[in-house]
Symmetry: C2
Subunit: 260 residues, 2 copies
């Protein structure tokens, strides 16, 4: 199934997408909502980030290529992560597909994309004991872009400005259920040029491992979103640019760069 | 006004506290809810964390005494923060007063309190231009305990395990409105012994400054909670201990340490 969140005439709803139609439902997809009977053509609605998670987690370094690319840039040896530990992003920085990524006025400009698979949790998960149980906690998958201001990321004590400025977390265009976690192909395109092309099979730790390890310490809640890390280290995006993240079986998340 | 969130017979509600009574309301305090007409004696309800924030921010080092105490422990020079930048905590780690703080089974045991003033935001705040405007965004104040596992905090890449394990964020017992931000006295008591006694006047950056600076990059939302940092560097808490944070004009947040 394909689930979206959309705005139409000022009202925000969730819906199922079937062919080119959105079937409005009466709640969040994670709560098994009923259809309202109202349908729209997909072109008649404005898609939003497909869910507003209670917690937005980022797996951080989860592909060796990203660890190595970022280290090379600093002229340092790669510092591979030893355990899967997430960081947090602000849910207030979420935007949907086709929305603008706004570069803050005082940014030096090193605003870069990180195309990522995003996992939507469907159940309360605590002390998850097996890979099967972990995968049973997955509601579906969507696409994230963990937009990063590299000067602030490097200089600041926390990743607040570096990763969680308003509009820095595009998510969407929708959530797709019933897909295998280990064979997504993830492509990042900058103004149509391929900047990254990698697969979820190359993650340092895979989806069930992250859920098992995180759930040793925290209860994951329905609606939580875990972004699974990116490959490589990309260049700067500047106003006027278009950035796309395409994931096989899901679709394309497309955003536009503008200056504040 | 004093606002609480409580559970009674399995139902979770918000309420106003007047004398020893809880007057149930029909929504969240930040949405100006109406009374339902139902009242309970305060002793008849179980108090919960007084709000579930969309984002739970921690001001991080915001008292020189904490910067210096933590540095002395490492045998390093104090590294004073240069700008007010928050970190994030998991909203899933929130508990209320009188609840148990659970030390994870694989913790080496260095679980320590951080008594903190907690600011509850009442309005959307973005590009806040003045201190008056910032203070107008404050709904009220409550008490937080930024419980920290120091081994994980020091060793891990992120503060996930160090600061956001389940039960590591006691908040409460309630929210009090219409208090001055700059004269709170904050006392931390470990099994009745005073471990810290400090004032919000000694913060490195005060409440309006944090709101102004954060709102340059993020939209603060109604219900967001900002914990304002602690003084000093305290000792370990062990199973059987009681930890209290008292703040003048608000009350006392009391929790009990247990092993997983």
């Amino acid at each position: 199934m394909i689930w979206c969140r959309f705005e139409r005439e000022g009202k925000v709803s969730h819906g199922r997408i079937v062919d080119d139609e959105v079937i409005e439902v009466d709640g969040s997809p994670i709560n098994n909502p009923a259809d309202t009977g109202v349908t729209y053509a997909l072109g008649e609605v404005r898609l939003l980030a497909p869910i507003v998670p209670p917690m937005l987690y980022a797996a951080g370094p989860n592909h060796n290529g990203h660890v190595e690319g970022m280290a090379a840039r600093r002229g340092a040896a790669p510092n591979y992560p030893k355990i899967p530990e997430p960081n947090f992003r602000s849910v207030h920085s979420l935007i949907g597909t086709e929305e603008n990524i706004v570069i803050p006025a005082d940014s030096a400009g090193a605003v870069q994309p990180e195309g990522q698979l995003a996992v939507v949790i469907g159940k309360h998960a605590r002390q998850v004991a097996s890979r099967d149980e972990a995968l049973d906690c997955v509601f579906g998958y969507t696409i994230g872009n963990d937009v990063s201001e590299r000067v602030w990321q490097g200089a600041d004590r926390t990743m607040f400005r570096g990763k969680s400025c308003d509009t820095f977390k595009p998510l969407g265009p929708w959530i797709v259920t019933d897909l295998p976690y280990d064979s997504f192909r993830i492509i990042v395109r900058h103004n149509g040029e391929v900047w990254e092309d990698f697969t979820s099979a190359d993650q340092i730790w895979d989806v069930p491992t992250w859920i098992i390890e995180m759930s040793k310490y925290t209860t994951m809640h329905p609606g939580d979103v875990l972004m699974m890390g990116t490959q490589g280290a990309d260049g700067d995006m500047v106003p006027g640019d278009t950035i796309e993240v395409e994931i096989s079986g899901i679709g394309t998340l497309r955003n536009y760069i503008v200056a504040e």
